[in-house]
Symmetry: C2
């Protein structure tokens, strides 16, 4: 599953449709000059961004506010060796507009964990790429 030319590339709409089906993805960023990755639950805000909910004092917020990050989700079947992965790449930023924050408190993602001073992080879906791995065993 490492070879680009045997995957089927998916278009943006198909990628977003699959993203909407899973509750957890992984935000990829840099921390202390090292690659870092953290699983987070999320929701899509229309077709333009990924939304996360965290605490105002979190390490994650400090690390990603204002920088370009990647956000990945996938689903694979170990038996059939099939599945898909989607990566959203774009700038992450805390939602600072009060009206927007208020709206997201009602309609945004619910964290799986207790939160102190809710902050929403929006990742703009500047680039959305995805690929599907189909079960090749029968086709060989």
């Amino acid at each position: 599953m490492l070879q680009n030319d045997v995957f089927r590339t998916m278009d943006r709409q198909e990628c977003l449709r699959l993203l909407a089906e899973v509750p957890v993805g992984r935000i990829v960023y840099t921390r202390h000059a090292l690659p870092a990755v953290l699983p987070v639950n999320f929701v899509l805000d229309g077709d333009s961004s990924v939304l996360l909910r965290t605490s105002a004092g979190s390490d994650l917020l400090r690390a990603v506010d204002g920088v370009v990050v990647a956000f990945e989700a996938d689903s694979f079947d170990a038996v059939s060796h099939s599945g898909w992965s989607v990566v959203v790449t774009g700038p992450a930023s805390a939602v600072t507009d009060p009206a927007e924050h208020e709206r997201l408190l009602r309609t945004g993602p619910q964290s799986w964990m207790p939160i102190q001073e809710d902050v929403f992080i929006r990742i703009e879906a500047a680039m959305v790429t995805g690929r599907e791995l189909t079960d090749l065993r029968g086709a060989v």
Copy 2:
């Protein structure tokens, strides 16, 4: 699930035991100065490294050979909001020793995809961190 202080931190041995239970993880690196992430199937080589199998001409090999990467695997239950995640951080490098390469052709990971000119990438487990999220709903 974003708040560090409500997770249980796992020790290295527990992290490696969980890693051994899943077939797919995600390698996290930098490509064209942007954060990048790619799901890959893998095996552990003892308790010291993660092994991937790819093609000699792959973009992945070019991007990660000789640099520090992160490798993440996780398992979450969306119903109970419980699960775990493990991150291995360390230098990645192609296996160039002929005897070692020969050994891995027999005992190393089998790629889920057809491979051209097999190359093994070893990620040294210089740092292994992990945390477990338990179902808190009943405890509140």
